[in-house]
């Protein structure tokens, strides 16, 4: 279709944060890559593991404190429920744009052949296990495994 000058063939995306914007950057870029026929790996580490942890994956929130994009004094971020409210609004708008919730989004990536991995060191740090992670997670891998799986492609840290 497109004249391929040097089309990207393979991409590995690292998500190390549980903040909505980082998780969604990972999902949108990852899903977009899969949709374009690009071999895609998503690697979740540190707080990013929340996005693939069953009990937490659909509670990913937009931070209010320390978020300079929010036109409110940071101190108001201490008000309980503000982050929840902001996240609600974001999810509502995203849903209108056909941007699905985290679990459904990951399922789309997986349906297209994208692979989802959890970082072993972080899984151990947070005392998680395969059972606590979403079923679509391919495996828990080491950093070395990650580089092996990323061979021949490009790596993005969101």
């Amino acid at each position: 279709m497109v004249e391929n000058k040097e089309k990207i063939k393979k991409i590995s995306i690292i998500c190390a944060s549980a903040d909505l914007e980082t998780v969604y950057a990972t999902l949108i870029m990852g899903n977009g890559a899969v949709m374009d026929g690009i071999e895609t790996n998503l690697f979740f580490t540190f707080w990013g593991l929340n996005a693939i942890t069953k009990s937490k994956m659909n509670k990913i929130k937009a931070p209010v404190i320390g978020n300079t994009a929010i036109p409110l004094p940071s101190i108001l971020g201490l008000i309980p429920g503000l982050s929840w409210l902001l996240s609600k609004a974001m999810y509502w708008r995203m849903n209108q744009l056909d941007i699905p919730p985290v679990k459904e989004f990951l399922e789309m990536v997986e349906a297209g052949g994208g692979k989802i991995y959890a970082c072993k060191a972080a899984v151990e740090m947070f005392m998680l296990s395969k059972e606590k992670l979403w079923e679509g997670v391919d495996s828990i891998i080491t950093v070395g495994d990650f580089y092996d799986k990323s061979a021949g492609g490009q790596i993005i840290f969101t």
Partner: protein
Amino acid sequence: MSTKNIAGKTIEVNEEGYLLNMADWTKEIALELAKEINLPPLTDKHWQVIDYLRKNQAEGVALSLRKVGNSGIVDVKELYALFPGGPLKKSALVAGIPKPASCV
């Protein structure tokens, strides 16, 4: 923009091969385009997806992977199997509608 001779018709396409005018589309054109992008032989499911896309386009509904996956015709995995490596882009091309402008 350029023109292209396909299935006995001269039609206008953009630089990526998408039909400029969805009214120019015929089933014969779809078959030719599918061959050009190396799709597997078109099945009933392909045609159902193509119909769905054309209908949505005519109604001005923005295309997205999620929408097609929830259409009741195919799920996302089946859509990938029908149009490998380009569930939206390839299906849109064959359906004679513009390249999807959505990121999802």
